[in-house]
């Protein structure tokens, strides 16, 4: 029989091979730019070459007359001057005065801002014509530093000023916590501007259907249903007339799949020109157009009692959001504050953040948003405190970590519209386990040995709290076809994380089939019109739980129909290996294929009024996130002369509740750590004084290669199943990167024997030379 093979007794928990691999390895993935439509034309965006100024004129004449050009469009041509709305509004703060127009109208606010779009018969001609668009801008002073932008008298980027939001989160009596302290420790840490930079640039193909008036879109990922609905609203269409198709995506990491100006422009052009329109971004565009992230300045102070126990924590954070508030609004600054106390017992906390707009590419989330930044600042504070209080770094953390008995722990704050309730876990236990694993792997001996040999070698340690499984809902459909093959239509999206495999494993176990019998389609809005998308480490938790529920419902329905076919009581039936049989009578057996056939219209096994087909749609709702946690430990060598930091050893210890596919969890942690090494040591979007991007190629924006990333050790624990979902899972997407800035700052500080913090990330060669106090800059 087709499709049904006996898999491992339980697929969940096994490192089954990825369903995605065969097509990707053969070069048969379907990425955004891989599809072409007959008669398609190509779009090219004209971008601002100036960081700030008044857009006096956009001359389109010569471009319009260039060979093969169909249209040159500026802001004045767009109906209603559309803007990109905030997808996630938080804290009741109105950001409507800071939104990005699809095409700039009167003012340009960063280099790379879309000003016009050219459509031509071929991409080379489109690019030729785009260079003929004559942009006349009266330049104004660029505002590049967040502190300067927030001060009175700074040039105003928006009518409402440069501070888009200024708010506090916290709880407890902070003043009292500092008044009665034995020690107060302060530190400042700046986090450099860097970003997701997935290897596949963005791509879109929009195909209008002249018969129905509908529209097919290829290339939207992450939140396709949200993007479809938004596009429908902006274009004045019925949302069911837009079909966003599932595609492979060359990495997401928070940036890909948000609704950008091009996500309006390309479909609008396709409808207006009545031609399929394709747009493929190049890397130079990507580095100035797609959300940047991370840039923050943290001023932290903590008060301690005589034993080194934290009494209170204060944070003042300046968040540089670039020129506009895009779809993420102010969730990164909000998450920064909400997650800043981390896994520690912080009786009183007050954090203030100002989200400041500057003449740079707008910002959004990047894997572990707010946690990479906040963990780096907080863990530097604890390292400095350990030095000042004369307590061992690990011991200071152990004393302050929340204990299992203190969980669940509600912090009287909200983030992403949910209350912060740390659900369950053993934070000190994981710290001890990580330290033991590092010792077993020889980390401390390597530090001692290296120092004895005269090296500036440092050990870094950092503990952190993550969050995952954001609701409010996810929906899944599970359908068994007549061959017995199982089809899952999920609202997640495949961004490279292996979610097809994970959802197949979950469905397989719930249905009593092997994962090979299950195929998964993610991110197709016709197949799953109620999906929430893949972000915030939510898919295994919420999409997995929805698939589990739908598959369990199908299993129940299969047993009900099988009972009629076998003339047996449902209670006497067992479901396994793709069949339902009568307990103790293996000959009395019907396969899932036969049951699916028995639910066909006009089947004698269907009762009047029952729907045909063997399928179920289920929704999983959740009001709280689940909070994974972890520890990073690293060993580095610092060369004070060259400023080079070499990462020698790196351990990620992470609690995931339950690993559906351990190999994929380990892969997430290793890949995350590699990205974190980039953000901590190498990657930075730099600007000159006029606001010109200085990191617009891969020669200047330095992503880590295999030469900079050592083998990453991982310790995945499954000791604290999440209480809030039926699978007990916690998200694994971000734990690899969350504390990488923190741990490498800690290791470099240790290597150099600094009294204070490292001051800022990334720890580039020049910065390390400065810290080491030697060598010319």
């Amino acid at each position: 029989m087709t499709g049904l093979r006996t898999g491992p007794a339980r697929a969940v928990g096994a490192s089954v091979a990825r369903k995605e691999d065969p097509r990707l390895l053969r070069g048969l993935g379907r990425f955004g730019a891989d599809r072409s439509a007959p008669g398609q034309v190509w779009a090219r965006v004209v971008r601002s070459p100036v960081a700030h100024g008044r857009l006096a004129a956009v001359g389109t004449g010569p471009a319009s007359a260039a060979p093969g050009v169909l249209a040159v469009v500026t802001a004045a041509d767009l109906p209603g001057r559309p803007e990109i709305p905030v997808r996630l509004g938080v804290q009741g703060i109105d950001l409507s005065g800071y939104l990005q127009p699809v095409l700039a109208g009167r003012t340009v606010r960063y280099v790379g801002e879309p000003l016009a779009v050219v459509v031509a018969e071929d991409p080379y001609l489109a690019e030729d014509a785009a260079e003929l668009v004559d942009v006349d801008i009266d330049a104004a002073p660029a505002v590049l530093d967040a502190a300067a932008a927030a001060s009175p008298g700074a040039p105003r980027l928006h009518a409402g000023g440069n501070v888009a939001a200024d708010f506090t989160l916290g709880y407890g009596d902070v003043a009292a916590a500092f008044a009665r302290a034995d020690h107060v420790v302060q530190t400042e840490v700046r986090i450099g501007r860097h970003g997701a930079v997935p290897l596949e640039p963005r791509a879109l193909l929009a195909e209008p259907d002249p018969v129905t008036g509908g529209l097919s879109v290829f290339g939207m990922t992450k939140v396709p249903v949200f993007n479809r609905d938004l596009l429908a609203r902006l274009l004045g269409m019925d949302e069911a007339m837009i079909h966003v198709h599932a595609v492979d995506a060359g990495g997401g990491f928070g940036a890909r799949g948000e609704f950008y100006p091009e996500d309006y422009l390309v479909p609008w052009l396709a409808r207006t020109l009545r031609r399929p329109v394709k747009w493929v971004e190049d890397r130079a565009e990507h580095l100035v157009a797609v959300n940047h992230s991370r840039q923050q300045e943290h001023r932290l102070a903590a008060s301690f009692d005589a034993d080194g126990r934290i009494l209170g924590l204060r944070a003042d954070v300046l968040h540089d959001n670039g020129a506009y508030c895009r779809t993420h609004g102010i969730i990164v600054p909000e998450l920064t504050l909400a997650m800043l106390p981390g896994p520690y017992r912080v009786p009183a906390y007050r954090g203030r953040v100002r989200a400041v707009l500057t003449s740079k590419t707008p910002c959004g989330t990047y894997r572990a948003p707010g946690r990479f930044e906040g963990s780096a600042a907080r863990e530097q504070l604890l390292d400095v405190a350990a030095s000042q209080l004369g307590i061992d770094r690990v011991e200071l953390r152990r004393r302050n970590l929340l204990t299992p008995g203190e969980l669940p722990c509600q912090r009287l704050m909200s983030t992403l519209g949910t209350d912060v309730v740390l659900d369950a876990g053993d934070y000190p236990g994981l710290l001890a386990a990580a330290a033991a694993e590092a010792a077993r792997l020889g980390y401390p001996a390597e530090v001692t040995g290296g120092r004895r040999a005269g090296r500036r070698r440092g050990l870094g340690v950092a503990a952190f709290l993550e969050k995952s499984g954001l609701g409010p809902q996810e929906t899944a459909d599970v359908v068994v076809s007549r061959t017995g093959a199982v089809h899952v239509y999920s609202g997640g999206t495949s961004l490279g994380q292996g979610i097809e495999t994970v959802l197949a494993q979950i469905a397989a176990d719930a249905l009593g089939v092997g994962p090979a019998a299950v195929s998964v389609v993610n991110g197709d809005t016709d197949r799953q019109p109620f999906g929430g998308g893949s972000w915030a480490s939510r898919s295994t938790v919420v999409a997995g739980s929805a698939v589990h529920a739908a598959a369990c419902a199908v299993r129940g329905r299969a047993a009900e129909v099988a009972a009629r076919m076998l003339e047996a009581a449902p209670a006497d039936l067992v479901t396994e290996d793709g069949a339902v049989s009568v307990r103790g009578d293996p000959a009395a057996r019907v396969t899932l294929a036969e049951i699916a056939q028995a639910t066909a219209p006009a089947s004698p096994y269907l009762r009047p009024g029952e729907p045909s087909g063997l399928s179920a749609r289920r929704r999983f709702e959740v009001t709280h996130m689940t909070y994974p946690y972890g520890v990073h430990i690293a060993v580095v060598d610092v060369d004070p002369g060259t400023g080079r930091v070499e990462v020698l050893r790196y351990l990620v210890a992470y609690e995931v509740g339950r690993a559906v596919n351990p190999a994929l969890v380990e892969g997430q942690l290793r890949g995350g750590a590699a990205q974190g090494i980039g953000g901590a040591l190498l990657e930075e979007f730099c600007y000159d004084d006029a606001g010109q991007p200085q990191s617009a190629t891969f020669m200047d924006y330095r992503m880590p290669t295999a030469a900079e990333v050592p083998p990453i050790d991982v310790l995945v624990t499954q000791d604290a199943p999440a209480p809030g979902n039926p699978l007990g899972v916690r998200g694994a997407g971000e734990g690899g990167v969350s504390a990488s800035g923190a741990v490498l700052a800690s290791a470099v500080r240790d290597a150099l024997g600094l009294a204070g913090s490292v001051g800022r990330l990334p720890l580039t060669a020049a910065r390390v030379q400065e810290l080491a106090g030697g060598g010319a800059r």
Partner: protein, 173 residues
């Protein structure tokens, strides 16, 4: 006026004859004119290596070559590696060792590795490859997902298994 050239090349053993504009890159020609969309573009300035193909057996960044430069050449792309549905030993090794996640950089790494493995094939008089050597090779391309560990392990394992296979007497058929 477009500067069009008529060229002939073989891709994965198949003959192609086409008219191509002088400025068209080999990558665009392979993807958009000939349909080999397994070759991916990640940077178009020769750093990331996602577009790596073999030109007459040597790895080349197809974004840095013009299509006309491949006139008369034998080009190998990722689509030529598998035997129908059966993955090659290198492809299988990538899957077994979790050497890919999103898969966008993967064709470039596979072709980079195939070029290296051909140069260091059993009998070529080269020494057994070390992990450090493979890591240096892998550092030629960028991957944003995996942290490189699985890629290094997959290439190393394939290099070793090909040598072992070559050292063994052929199995009786």
């Amino acid at each position: 006026m477009k500067d069009i050239h008529l060229i002939r090349l073989r891709v994965n053993g198949r003959e192609h004859e086409l008219a191509v504009e002088a400025r068209r890159t080999l990558a665009d020609m392979l993807r958009d004119d000939l349909g080999y969309t397994g070759t991916h573009l990640g940077c178009e300035h020769g750093i990331c290596g996602a577009c790596t193909v073999l030109v007459d057996g040597s790895p080349a960044r197809s974004c840095l070559m013009f299509g006309v430069q491949a006139d008369g050449a034998e080009v190998s792309t990722v689509e030529g590696l598998a035997d129908g549905d059966r993955l090659s030993d290198l492809q299988q090794s990538f899957s077994d060792r979790h050497g890919l996640q999103c898969g966008y950089c993967t064709p470039g790494f596979l072709m980079l590795a195939e070029g290296y493995l051909a140069e260091n094939r059993p009998g070529a008089g080269t020494a057994e490859p070390t992990e450090a050597e493979i890591r240096e090779l892998v550092a030629a391309n960028l991957c944003r997902c995996t942290g490189y560990q699985g890629i290094v392990e997959a290439v190393l394992a394939t290099a070793r298994s090909r040598r072992q296979r070559a050292a063994q007497p052929p199995e009786p058929r």
